[in-house]
């Protein structure tokens, strides 16, 4: 049945009416095919404007409406809601005669264009069908990938709200980088002391299924209904039996560097990365062990009174169904070997900021004592270099955002430990934008008598037992040469390589520095473009602990909002395959980025509506034109093309 279309042209004050001859447009469009009624109004989006639409729908018996006003991104929802009171909301379309018309063209041109835009919109509307929202069920369980502070916080929030969480961590223990830190700016509380209670809470929580030493290897499905495969790596130690007595470690003959201590301390092949590890258990490092199969040593098993060691443990694949996924895979530091322009080679006395954190930590390789690594002596002169690899076109162009703060902290902690020591900090700018951060920096500068040098370092080289740092003080224009005992590089923060692998599995985008790309940089900072996937912490961009925790709670609240419903509504503008004529060539299956096009047993393609996001790539690719996009059909678009020319 032919539609009775009503046209409502908005003046938008003088924004449109000051340029476009709205009265003429409304008048002439009244006689366009299919149009039953046409009028103008001052502000269509206002309450009286909306009431006018209601009134005319009733009086004129309209069953479809075009609002010629601003961009659909502004008010499409508003008007569809109004029309939805009377008929299917998809029978309401907007014609953009403001952003892409009255604001950019002169009067005559704009009026002509307004006609064309309106005609095209009427043509589209004439081809529209009633669409009902597609509902998909929600599996109210959440997968959290990465057990740093971001993943821990998100998991706790969701679990506390009563939903099950599967927390997957690839390392033997959760905790992430925060477990490696000494004291935290700006308050200098001990990092582990504030973190470990949360780690223990994770271990104890009845709603959290912790899978440490595990990796996600496959993800399929869609929002509300993801299927996940998780690989549980064998620890060769039974988590439940291990009492962490340490007898095994004492007898283990294989010694390797401990990654947790940035390899500055040794560990055994059977090890616990740090004493407060969660889950609290030993793990055998397969690579370092003298040999599991065939068994070459077995000293640990003999020593273990709890009988926790099992050399026959096998990798296990666990399948889980979840409704939402939070990616919290954290960060790494940029490789210091890549800063070739400084000219240094391997040098024990040039260390990264994380290595220095370990040195400062009471549980670290030196027991909290600051030493010059090559000699073990107390370093009397230390140079800290900020923006090492950050804000640098040759390396990472962005600001790593946390280095100004932790370098100030490092210099302060150094001065507290070595009273007669001298600390120099090379910086480009000081960025201390967090709460109480500026005060912290000011305190460091004033009370600790640290030499802040504004400028870049040109060269670093060894001269006897000293490391010479050459730079320019850009405030005085003078060259600076410092003969230091130790150099600490505040390396650029980058997303972990593993984040790329996870992003591939999830089909979400990764940008510069391996950071996950959010749906909207301002309004959707924790959401992926694909629904049901959220980000938290440094995996999304460099940030400090407060911002990480805030983001984790934000991601959790998004998940909880989703879990508060039993069914999810999704946009019904999906693809439909004409099955009768489908040749089964499979091109649509190969082009669909969402795996929504699937081959049926009869060889023909079918669109899984719950997966389809409505991009239309399949419709454009189908060689026999047997795929249509609902309310964006080929014939609709061709009619639009015709009337705009």
């Amino acid at each position: 049945m032919a539609k009775r279309i009503g046209i409502f042209v908005c003046h938008c004050g003088i924004n449109i009416a000051g340029v476009v001859d709205v009265e003429r447009v409304a008048k002439e469009m009244a006689s366009y095919p299919g149009v039953a009624f046409s009028t103008t109004y001052q502000y269509m989006c206002s309450e009286p404007g909306q009431n006018l639409i209601r009134q005319k729908i009733e009086e004129e018996n309209l069953d479809a409406v075009v609002i010629a006003a601003c961009s659909p991104s502004m008010h499409e929802e508003t008007f569809r809601n109004v029309c939805g009171e009377y008929f299917n909301p998809h029978m309401c379309e907007m014609a953009n005669i403001r952003e892409q018309c009255s604001w950019v063209h002169d009067s005559e041109e704009a009026t002509e264009k307004a006609f064309k835009v309106l005609k095209a919109t009427v043509e589209k509307l004439r081809g529209n069908e009633d669409l009902e929202p597609i509902f998909v069920p929600v599996e109210k369980r959440c997968l959290v990938i990465g057990g740093g502070i971001a993943g821990i916080q998100a998991a706790l929030d969701i679990a506390d709200a009563g939903h099950e969480v599967i927390l997957v961590e690839k390392e033997p223990s959760i905790g992430g980088r925060m477990a490696q830190l000494s004291e935290t700016f700006p308050t200098l509380d001990c990092s582990q002391c504030i973190l470990t209670p949360k780690m223990v809470a994770v271990a104890r929580h009845p709603n959290i299924k912790l899978m440490a030493y595990s990796e996600v290897i496959d993800i399929s499905g869609y929002v509300g209904n993801f299927n996940v495969k998780i690989l549980k790596k064998p620890r060769y130690v039974d988590e439940d039996k291990c009492t962490v007595c340490g007898d095994c470690e004492d007898v283990c003959p294989a010694i390797v560097p401990n990654e947790f201590d940035m390899s500055k301390k040794a560990r055994k092949a059977i090890y616990i990365p740090f004493p407060q590890a969660v889950p609290s258990t030993y793990t055998i490092d397969r690579e370092a062990c003298l040999g599991l199969a065939p068994l070459a040593c077995a000293q640990c098993k003999e020593a273990c009174e709890a009988d926790a060691i099992n050399y026959d443990m096998q990798p296990e694949i666990v399948e889980e169904k979840v409704g939402a996924i939070i990616v919290a895979t954290g960060y790494d530091l940029y490789d210091k070997e890549r800063l070739v322009e400084y000219g240094y080679g391997e040098d024990d006395d040039i260390i990264t900021s994380l290595e220095f954190e370990r040195m400062l930590s009471a549980s670290g390789p030196t027991g909290g004592k600051i030493i010059k690594p090559s000699t073990g002596e107390e370093p009397k002169k230390v140079v800290f270099i900020q923006c090492a690899g950050s804000r640098d076109r040759k390396h990472m162009p962005y600001c790593s955002s946390i280095c100004c703060m932790y370098t100030a902290k490092h210099a302060m902690l150094y001065k507290h430990a070595v009273h007669d020591g001298e600390a120099y900090i090379f910086y480009i700018d000081i960025r201390a934008t967090g709460k109480d951060y500026e005060e912290f920096i000011a305190r460091v500068m004033e009370e600790e008598r640290i030499n802040y040098i504004r400028g870049k370092v040109a060269k670093i080289y060894r001269e006897g037992d000293k490391i010479v740092v050459w730079g320019v003080d850009t405030l005085t224009g003078k060259k600076v040469e410092i003969k230091a005992d130790m150099v600490v590089l505040a390396m650029a923060v980058i997303g972990r390589e593993e984040t790329r692998d996870i992003a591939k599995l999830l089909k979400v985008a990764v940008g510069e520095g391996n950071f996950l790309k959010e749906s909207h940089p301002k309004l959707k900072p924790v959401e992926a473009l694909s629904r049901g996937i959220y980000f938290a912490g440094c995996a999304q961009g460099p940030k400090d602990i407060p911002a990480t925790v805030a983001q984790a709670s934000a991601a959790a609240s998004k998940v909880l909002a989703m879990f508060s419903r039993d069914k999810l509504e999704k946009d019904p503008m999906v693809a439909v395959v004409d099955e009768e004529h489908c040749s089964g060539c499979g091109i649509c299956i190969s082009v669909c980025p969402y795996g929504a096009m699937q081959r049926q047993p009869n060889g023909k393609a079918k669109c899984i509506e719950a997966l389809c996001e409505g991009c239309g790539t399949c419709a454009a690719a189908c060689p026999s034109n047997n795929i249509e996009m609902k309310n964006y059909s080929d014939s609709q678009i061709k009619r639009m093309v015709e009337v705009v020319i």
Binding site: Q100, W103, V104, P593, N625, K638
Partner: protein
Amino acid sequence: MSFEPKIVAFLCNWCAYAGADMAGTSRLKYPGNMIAIRVMCSGRVDPEFILEAFEKGADGVFIGGCHPGDCHYVSGNYRTRRRVEMMKRLLEEMGINPRRLRLEWVSATEGQKFARVVKEFVEEIRQLGPSPIKKEEAI
């Protein structure tokens, strides 16, 4: 009367259409010869739509999508890039100057770029003159 080019544009909803809105919000003037049809993704643009436009008398066809890597639907714009390359060759064979088909990446923030490329394109088509297909019809 001087020649006024008729141009059809297909703009993806997430980047190019939003970029065109941004040009409006920034009140950047550009010629009104081009009318936009909003599609969800540039990957929706069927080569048939381009042919249809030329057949119906368009002097130029413009496709606006997200920058490579930024497509809202992951990879639609890569398909578009390939299709446009193919279409340019086809147009050439048909005797239509391939410059009459233009693909541009415009992000939601690039109002300036949108206004600039529209100006350029309209100017280019003006130089090229009316589409040969239209001339044939006129004869």
